[in-house]
Symmetry: C2
């Protein structure tokens, strides 16, 4: 037999993936590991019996919607419900403002496809959600980091000539930071002045543990037009409001953006699951997401507080952090600049705990001084033990660096 | 108020979409239209009661799989079932050979992401499936058309230096052609000699109406290795075997290809629906797809024959065609070279029937002499009336061209 022929090379972006994902996958096999790395909901929050009944009815009562190819843009009834849900005085939305996506992640992929040719410029809140960076890698973007909280941050300068600006205003991933009302207004004004699209990625918008939600940038850019036609591209998801397994998200945006995204979705997965869309429709219509929300908030608020107490107990001399008013994460920055959190991750796994190092939230992988800690998945005693292990791992890592 | 700022331009590929999709969408609103354009199954083939019960049980009995984020690569149990299903003596597949996708379309998108940088070369069976062309547009490929049935077709020459070769061996979309065993062997040999990946897209592999299925190229390239590591990338889908609304497909390929596709899927939709995957698992495990297949075959065989009879009755002087041995489509080529089938589509809609013109299956849109007619969606009387209208529309179009 001749030697096997050489295979074509894979696309260039595949060589740029870091190995943290592989480390996380391998971590899944470590016994007794306390996973504080991901952004996972607690399965105890899922209304299993309700959802089982909804799924059965979705197919039995609506086979023509649940089992067929759905329209690319999504089922009409679900789009109407989303339009109604996000409309407000001054913000007039119709189904033409709504695209149903296969989870929030697909919206990021589609945005990259319609707005980024190779080398396109993205203004991105820094540090930035890892999943967004992953989604856009095959488009080879350039990044302009936006530090919204910096005193000299100039939104119009930041957005100028960018294809779009990417933000997570409610409890930013990874920092947990709530972008204030003044910053929101300034971003919207800059988007309107420059024409740059402004992505408002909002998976945590219902997870406010203290105080009332701030207005969405989508509402702030309303302007009262008969059909919304502003620069904000709002992304929502069922994953945090109900359960991730349905893979249902939505985009609310100007009709020309929705049309472009539909063209991209057609060649991406043709349509999202009709079954999942019917279940989402029924869950919204019967108020299931609102019904479970108080228990979800009580559970996660208590865990956030438990994580804060554990960090104060074990990490006070090693890290600085702020307790977030919502979301799923605490962001902690090492006091000692000698700490490399990529190395800390490896040591943490050896100690039986997993966190996410800051390098993965930096398009260039250079930020190695912070970590992201999740508090929604584990009970308070596990959070305490996880943080205790993390403190040990941090001391070991620092001792090795010295 | 200042004039609205100019928005960033959309990515270049969006300007290349033809308007046939819009025409089809508008066609959906024409009353009494007979739709022979799409590749849709007859909803009567769906086992609604079984699927309703399966969906309820999937959530009630397996909430941790149905409602959570699934692993990117898919649920382990479903991957094992697919590996077992496609294994044969000499073809050893494990879960490492299998990726679950969100419908067959997503597999095409992921293949583009991992194999095509801008300008990458694709050797594609010609005419080519419209959905594949759509999926790869954002990657700006070059195409080398492959006419497998041409007497002088040289597979090794066709595959040389291409990133991959794209084929639909079972009842090719759009032509309905069955790629013969000799051609399959030659393609596999060429892929092994050149190293080029060979995509075997197989949505219609169970829809054989006459005679026994030919061996898959995947099997022909087996080679007996402990774990399959050959150049064939096999794509399957639940859409034609059970129902499209679940959006479940699969890729069977060498482990390094599966790994690359997993990286691309991570940034595309994170994972496919856990609920849909559990339903697929149960449907395969209980033999539901095999149970409904005889009725599906009987129904579609009768419709294929009805369409053939209707075409002989109404179109014999206008088109040439061959009756396919399976699949969903008849491909017909105008006898008169003056017929422009893009124009025919518009005239056909005015006559109350919809077919697909050949231009959409040509990356350069130049082939305008053929049409694709679907026979699975409509009952025999509708097929006859649709073809009668099509004959009228053809005569009108030819009279105008003269």
């Amino acid at each position: 037999m001749p030697p096997p022929a050489r295979r074509p090379t894979f696309a260039g972006w595949l060589a740029e993936t870091n190995d943290v994902t592989q480390i996380f996958l391998a971590a899944g096999r470590i016994p007794d590991l306390i996973n504080m790395a991901g952004g996972l909901p607690d399965p105890a929050t899922w209304p299993v019996a309700d959802l089982s009944a909804l799924a059965a009815r979705a197919i039995a009562d609506h086979p023509g919607e649940a089992l067929a190819y759905a329209p690319i843009e999504g089922l009409t009834g679900l789009r109407d419900l989303i339009a109604a849900r996000f409309s407000s005085p001054g913000l007039h939305l119709t189904r033409d403002n709504v695209l149903i996506t296969s989870g929030g992640m697909q919206a990021l992929d589609l945005i990259g496809k319609v707005l980024l040719d190779q080398g396109g410029l993205v203004a991105a809140q820094s540090p930035a959600y890892l999943g967004a960076l992953d989604a856009w890698k095959p488009r080879y973007p350039r990044y302009r980091p936006m530090c919204l909280e910096a005193g000299d941050f100039d939104p119009a300068l930041a957005l100028r000539d960018a294809q779009f600006a990417y933000t997570v205003p409610n409890f930013s991933n990874p920092t947990g930071r709530l972008v204030g009302l003044g910053e929101r207004r300034a971003l919207v004004a800059a988007a309107e002045a420059t024409g740059t699209w402004l992505i408002e990625d909002d998976p945590y918008g219902t997870l406010y543990y203290d105080g009332a939600p701030l207005p969405r940038m989508l509402s702030l850019s309303a302007g009262g037009a008969a059909v919304y036609d502003g620069p904000v591209v709002y992304l929502g998801t069922l994953s945090k409001e109900l359960a991730p397994g349905f893979r249902i998200g939505w985009v609310v945006a100007a009709p020309d953006m929705i049309q472009a995204l539909i063209s991209a979705k057609q060649g991406s997965d043709m349509s999202s699951s009709g079954l999942s869309q019917r279940i989402a429709h029924e869950a919204f219509a019967m108020g299931l997401t609102e019904r479970i929300l108080p228990d979800v908030l009580a559970l996660y608020r208590a865990r956030r507080d438990a994580l804060g107490a554990a960090m104060a107990r074990h990490l006070g001399d090693l890290f600085d952090w702020e307790i977030p008013a919502g979301g799923m994460f605490v962001w902690a920055t090492a006091r000692d600049a000698a700490l490399d959190t990529d190395r800390l991750l490896r040591e943490a796994l050896a100690h039986g705990v997993c966190i996410t190092p800051s390098s993965v939230f930096d398009p260039e992988g250079r930020n190695r001084r912070s970590i992201r800690i999740n508090f929604t998945l584990n009970a308070p005693d596990k959070l305490d033990e996880g943080v205790r292990r993390l403190a040990e791992a941090t001391r070991t890592t620092l001792a090795r660096a010295a």
